[in-house]
Amino acid sequence: MLSLKGIVAGYGGGSVLQGVDLECAKQTITCIVGPNGAGKSTVLRVISGLLRPSEGQISMDGEAIADRSPDEILRRGITQVPQSHALFPAMSVRENVLMGGYLIRRNRALLRERLDMVMERVPVVAARAHDNAGNLSGGQRRMVEIARCLMLDPKLILLDEPSLGLDPRSLSGVAGLIHELNAAGTTVLLVEQNVRLGLGLATHGVVMEGGKVRLTGTAAAIKDDPEIASLYLGGTSGSPTAPRPTARSKAEGPKTETTGV
């Protein structure tokens, strides 16, 4: 459904992505893992149109989208939840979710129908509808961020580090929601530094390093790959759902990745 071929992209100076090839099949959950600076978040930004690649092709259901603007890509059913701070803090939760339907604002009936659907699927939206988004906890905020992107009934959801800064309980809530959405037919592409969690959630895994894809396969195969295990899983302790520290190590490589959008 989504396919990237030979993507080269960067911010001003050098290229963060140096020829990325990636495929996401329909109704899969693909998780991109890799060290800091590997270009994981940049891949998402290129797909959602926030960053234009200098070379390469991206196609969605056979249609080329690499040179489209962010709102044109949204219209094609690709929505993104960034690492953090995507909401409008002084607007109510209901209005925040409603803003997710900005592109379908002319179709009131559809808007109402989607809002009802989202409220049913993500109960926190109904429960806190009239509270300001700025007063939500981190976990609730992440749920509302995901809820907001459901307003366009996306075919593909891009999630940038959904576990970032969440406590274990919120984390299992978010993981549950991702599974539900996937079961309902949505394709998911996520970036995760918590490798155990990410690959545990996913059906497919992609390992990135230095702006290139090093390995792809089923999530189980990636997890069992001895090299990956020693590189990324060896040092990890605790349960798969344990939150990882939010402070990032700077020793892991060049810090070319940007945070947020």
């Binding site: 909401l87 803090p89 803003m99 007063n135």
Partner: protein
Amino acid sequence: MTQLVQAIVLGLLIGGVYALMASGLTLIFGVMRIINVAQGAFLILVAMITWWLWRVTGIDPILASVITTPLMFGFGWVAYRLLLSRIRGASPSMSVLLTFGFALVIEGVLNVTAGNKFKSATPSYFEESFRVGAISLPKAQVFGFVAAMVVLAALYYVLTRTWTGRAIRAATQNPSGAALVGVGAAGTAALAFAIGSATTGVGGSILSVLYPFFPASHYDWISRLLGIVVLGGMGSLPGALAGAGILGLAETLTATYGSLNWSTLVFYIVIMVVLLIRPQGLFGAKLREDTV
């Protein structure tokens, strides 16, 4: 007692007009982090156009805002596209430099075309008053207040009940979040600047009747408006209303019980005291730190 009620009523009438004038400034700052120092010059420009229309055609100055409002909307749109869009992403201090230059250009052009003399539009009701019991309400002040309230109500409606307004508020609070849902930053900013400028269409028309003006009057006005906006909280519309009401009351109460000369000073003392206690202003946004 009558004297006190008279001062309070008059203070609120004046405050309502100030609120309208400050609303555009705070809206523009809220969305774009642009401090439009030229807002005062926009007001004087409109007052001058209104005065001219009134002299040539005899049209009522306050009703002339039907003409000047769309004119200023277009003026704001073009000014944003040609000038202010170039400093998008720069620091707010850059916007002060740019808009100050813009204000000087407007002042200079008005000096050359209209002359450096005090002007004032004086329609037939200029010196008349409504009387409610012992209270006297100058007609021009009442009409100005009513026009200001109509425009503020319309502005409130647009911001809270329409998609345009939601997009503007979204872009105010989180520009990158707005981009993610398909709100274009450039279009929203131009629209907000145009709406903010359009408020001077009515504000300047009212000004032409209520206050004598000349090209350099914009310095007085922008300092008053900035005072209101800072007191209320930069970017907050309810804050601008509150700040404007306080300025109006400070002026009339000081003029009634003290001397006219002290009225502006009292307002700035209020600002200083408020900022000592609440540095973000009365209604300034103070969010949980992790949401910023």
